[in-house]
Amino acid sequence: MSSPGHFGEYGGRFVPEALIGALNELEIAHNTAQKDPEFLAELAELHRTYTGRPSIITEAKRFSEHAGGARIFLKREDLNHTGSHKINNVLGQALLTKRMGKKRIIAETGAGQHGVASATAAALMGLDCVVYMGEEDTHRQALNVARMKLLGAEVVPVTSGSRTLKDAINEAMRDWVTNVADTHYLLGTVAGPHPFPTMVRDFHKIIGEEAREQMLALTGRLPDAILACVGGGSNAIGIFNAFIPDSDVRLIGLEAGGDGVETGRHAATITGGTPGVLHGTRSYVLQDANGQTIESHSISAGLDYPGVGPEHAYLHDIGRAEYRAINDDAAMAAFSLLSRTEGIIPAIETAHALAGAILVGKELGPTANLLINLSGRGDKDVQTAAEYFGIPL
């Protein structure tokens, strides 16, 4: 990091002046909380008694037969309360919201997992909650819309632009500019203006810290490679972070290749994008020659985003992490394979990491140990998957 909030040439703040005060307030609140034993103890207790941490590790022995025989270990973030890693960040930010004396949170959501987690934390802590969700995604993820409503949140379908996650973020930022005095924007990924990429990483790094100890205890050594899906990149940073100093451990991010990067219909921002500014941060962006954002495409609502967290851009450029694209079909094949070989239905987002593990396992062979962040469960995707596989509902 060259300066606070920057990862090499990436990161920073590209926002209306109206938000600077709130971002400074948030940065101070976060830095103070990270050094406050009382805050850390409160969050740890919530994780123990509410989230269900530490999450376990499951070895996927039958799945491994299809992945070159490499040993495959799944970090089970899908078993967290609300069904994904998203709860880690949400509980942290909700506690900060209370500390800042704000009564209302707003959030964007793609797959609905971050929206559900936000609505959950709001219910737990007595905060008002409004979730912005692209209209297209409200159809793809109807079950999660109902969950958020049951939890007492208001869900606002966003009808501008591509009607997906990107536009939900635009609308959340407009709300925040207007209501910043009493509202915290509970951003759900490691993107956006400083301090979000750093703060959200800090709340998710527990994934990698636990996994590093668990892998050492289980196998007596560090894994050869860590794999995670990357949309904005929060679950990937969460599991990568503790292993960044371990230079022998390969860090592999799997982006959404959609119909194929070569078709232009994809969401593989690092693989197929260029450096630019989107949603308050400099990172890789899917953009045209005029700097207009290009709409992304993916079967996975949670990865369907034309930007990516700035730390991933940096890790890519310095060669510490590698990023590959997984097409829709390969992801769905891995989705089916894990369901049938291990009895675990993963989120379609997570299936991209599993498809990556099949490739990397074959490359590295049976002596390799691979750790995969099983970032979410697939209940929310049953309708999409049933349609994809032709199962009548």
Binding site: G12, P16, E17, A18, G161, N290
Partner: protein
Amino acid sequence: MTQLDSVMAKVRAENRAALIAYIPAGFPSQEGCAKAIQALAAAGVDAIEIGFPYSDPVMDGPVIQEAAEISLKGGTNAADVFAALKVATDTGVAAVVMTYWNPIERYGVNEFAQSIANNGGSGVITPDLTIEESDRWLAATSKTGINPIYVVAPSTNDARLADVTAKTGGFVYAASLMGVTGTRTSVSTDASNLVSRVRTVTDLPISVGLGVSTREQAKSLAAYADGVIVGSAFIKLLLEAKTEQEGLDAISHLAKELALGVREGR
């Protein structure tokens, strides 16, 4: 000294506020935009902001979003923005471009500043460029002699107002309220408080934008501001018009009313 600097000095000498109109390039069409610029200039606006339509306009309300979407569907690119800027400067008014940062970075920071200068433009308003990220841009605007115009908000504290205005040229863009662009029935009292606070840290002219749509509002702002910025109100008229001519007549009428308003404030 840019033409914008001259215009702001002139209106100060005349003891009134400047009327500044915003229109996105390529809206309602490339030709329609040129005609709208000419109609606004003829009706007495002192300066024109040409908007660079952007796919993710997080500072804009529904009216400017819709205009940007129409413009982008028409294929508007950087060349069209500079062409619209040229149309404006050819009418004799001061003209600037207002754009989110990414199109500048994509075009090339130095090249963008140079193209503004080459087309007679006075400066660029950059609503999402913070001063912390501005080093390359300020080097480019300084080299090409154009005004870097920054936006300040009611939530900007006094220390930061001093920092931001120290980097600003042309005028300080004071956002009248916490929120996105769009017409409001009243312009909040935040505006006068903000303008007073900006006065204590800079001698630069101060223009107020966000929410202005009527002669009465222009008049009340002109009592204490050096410039009154109107955008969504013009765009709304163009969106609602049944024919292009009806739209041009409507914005011309509103511009004349507002031009009276900015002269009645003091």
